[in-house]
Symmetry: C2
Subunit: 441 residues, 2 copies
């Protein structure tokens, strides 16, 4: 039975509206010449992110807004399956990693390490199994304390030698990592499937559900198989083999393992090969960490038993990059409503104080009153320049206020399809709510 | 004129309710023997935080909830004065720090540094003047682009040799740092005073306003004076000298500088010495960073002019520690409503399924329906143990449901004062909303 404890709704309904004349970021025509990934090139050009160095990016207001919306969606789904949120430290104590055998660069090749002034080496967290397992020994003693599901959104640091995929493979990135603590394999499996469903909801809510496949992968040293969520995309670093009818895939690691096909009931012949982006993964860890770090519980008979664990990761930044790779077009970014920085881009073609500007000002105020997220391009600039910039920013709906606009009817351009619709003031103000954390495309 | 651009309300009205039987953290009788600070001792005992190593703490669900509420208050006040939120990277490119002359350990003695696998040293951000100033060169060109106010909540890493003040002086901690970019000293000063007012609102909203003084400090290499916000508390690491009538103070650095008394119009004799915690600081940076990093703008006459900067810091974790130091009592934590993890602690003295439990269950459901943040102690445990634990957790109002409780009237205990009031169901459900981000004590 899933605990019903956390009816937490971490409501991140963010009301945001802004005059573009005051947005500090500017768009640019060219990305830096050392940036090769389409996602980062576009996000930089549109002023969503800034590149500090290869694989290290800053999130600027529009980019942070998208990242926050993705995080909000993931948080809701983690809370819905009973997750309790924490925030563990970046700085890692070597002691626990030595116990698990993962402190050496020979076993983990992406460590960043540093030194305390008063002696001793520290690591920067590349994952948090060790720290959390050690922590949980203080909070789990009895079978009554299980199951538990603990997650965080925390920076991970990975010393990648290749960092050429923009925000999709960064050296520093926020990861949602959830860890499950169960009595045994049966209790674990029940949650594992719930987590899998939650992941599918997340991918669907950010708009990539139809291209994302549950993919069988090697379980590594932990279990026979693990699962990746792979989104079909030419920019992907991975190759997967898809059974379209069953909406399942296998990755390259297990493609030649005949056992996998029997295990999941698909036929190797007829699989379709595709490039894909790994947007999430779920792992059965079993007792790998609980045994080495001493996390056990007393069962109903008083017998000490190692806790059965799982881990579940999604990188919100990688999801942002994936959405860009899949949806952007020749003109720039294209955001689904659920993660767009704003719902509307209100573009005024007026000049300071003229009738057009006044009409746009009134509509802007009305949109604010109706709780619609809106970016208002109130700047003095040429129409062509404004439209090109609006296309680059990728906000789902554009309302243009020009000399032919009457106060009662507006032209609304759909960024994704390019279709233009005439809408009355009432139509624009009435149904445009929601969006932020309410899901859907 | 302050830009009115960001009417952003990053609404973090979080609805939270939880059954204590499912909260994964447990309280403990003793803090770790190597923990000397009262704030960390109590927060660890109550299960709000976990100590990884000296000066490095994890935030557990209750602690993260408090931290989030403090962050929410700061964010609202930063947005209200025109702040635009970003998220800069932890990993720092040495190039910009070399330009400003702050890469060497001789100039900054708290650096943590690390290495890229494929060559080159990186720093972990201890502050972000360099990175942001360099970034802003891409977004500021003309006087029309000024002023700008950019802030973040981001981890800072400081390689402290002494880390004995719990969450008040951590080696890794979240800081809100805002940087202002103005045309000149006059435009800067106008914002500086607005930021000072915002800071005073923040301290008042988290419940420490009456003990917090605007304190004159050395301006370092940047300007004649800077300002600290110092909260009078025996646990403080600083000493300040207070003019109570004027609600101003000076710190130790400038106490013997006669110029400061003339500058601020207070009399050195009659100042009251006190230990204090620095909860915030605001600095005039002038052109120190814009000149070394090439951040200039063209004024109305087309002349290139360095941008005039300021910086404004608050550590949310230190604020949490300060609230603990000031308000906790012999029985445990005491939270003001504005930052409490929950408004109500509903304590049932029933046993699984009895009439008392049923009465408590119904009230819990009603509180949820009324959008009241509530932790529900639904566990089978002795009343004395439950009360002691409730005191330790420090939730502002406790409702006890016991054998004498009727369904229409409840006993509400005020954690801070210990007073007990009889309240009807309607009184409990009606006015108890708000709290989260609405300020006040």
């Amino acid at each position: 039975m899933l605990p019903i404890f956390l009816r937490s709704v971490h409501t991140r309904r963010i009301l945001w509206r802004m005059r573009q004349s005051q947005l500090f970021t500017k768009t640019r025509r060219e990305a830096p010449s050392d940036e090769f990934a389409k996602n980062a090139q576009l996000l930089i050009r549109a002023g969503y992110i800034h590149k500090e160095l290869a694989g290290v990016y800053d999130f600027l207001p529009l980019g942070l807004r998208v990242l926050d919306k993705v995080i909000g969606i993931i948080r809701e789904e983690m809370n819905a399956i009973g997750g309790e949120e924490v925030l563990l430290s970046t700085l890692q104590n070597p002691d626990v990693w030595k116990k698990s055998g993962r402190w050496d660069d020979a076993s983990v090749d992406v460590w960043f390490k540093t030194h305390l002034k008063n002696g001793g080496e520290l690591g920067l967290g590349n994952t948090h199994e060790e720290a959390l397992t050690a922590l949980m020994t203080e909070h789990i003693a009895s079978y009554k304390d299980l199951p538990r599901y603990v997650y965080q959104f925390q920076n991970k640091f990975r010393n990648e030698t290749r960092a050429k995929s923009g925000v999709m493979r960064a050296r520093e990135f926020i990861m949602k990592d959830l860890y499950s603590f169960s009595r045994d394999a049966a209790q674990h499996t029940e949650f594992y499937e719930k987590a899998a469903s939650a992941y599918e909801k997340i991918f669907s809510r950010v708009g990539i559900g139809d291209k994302t496949y549950r993919t069988f992968a090697s379980g590594g040293s932990f279990s026979k198989y693990s699962h990746e969520y792979q989104t079909v995309c030419e920019a992907g670093e991975d190759t997967i083999y898809i059974d379209e009818a069953k909406r399942l895939a296998v990755n390259k690691e297990v493609y030649d393992d005949q056992g996998v096909y029997a295990a999941i009931g698909i036929d190797k012949s007829g699989l379709k090969e595709a490039k894909a982006i790994e947007v999430g993964n779920i792992f059965t860890l079993g007792t790998r960490f609980s045994e080495t770090l001493g996390l056990s519980y007393k069962d109903a008979e008083g017998k000490s038993t190692p806790v059965f664990m799982g881990s579940y990761g999604i990188g919100p930044g990688r999801l942002v990059g994936t959405v860009v790779e899949l949806m952007a077009d020749g003109k720039g970014l294209v955001w689904p409503e659920s993660v767009a920085p704003f719902s509307y881009h209100l573009v005024s073609l007026g000049r300071d104080g003229d009738e057009i500007s006044k009409t746009a000002d009134v509509l802007y105020d009305d949109l604010i009153k109706a709780n619609v997220d809106v970016l208002y391009d109130d700047r003095d600039a040429r129409a062509g320049e404004k439209f090109a910039e609006s296309d680059l920013l990728g906000i789902p709906k554009r309302i243009v206020v020009g000399k032919d606009t009457t106060a009662g009817e507006f032209e609304v351009v759909n960024r994704a399809t390019g279709t233009v619709a005439k809408k009355s003031r009432e139509e624009i103000l009435a149904p445009a709510r929601g969006g932020s954390a309410s899901g859907g495309k």
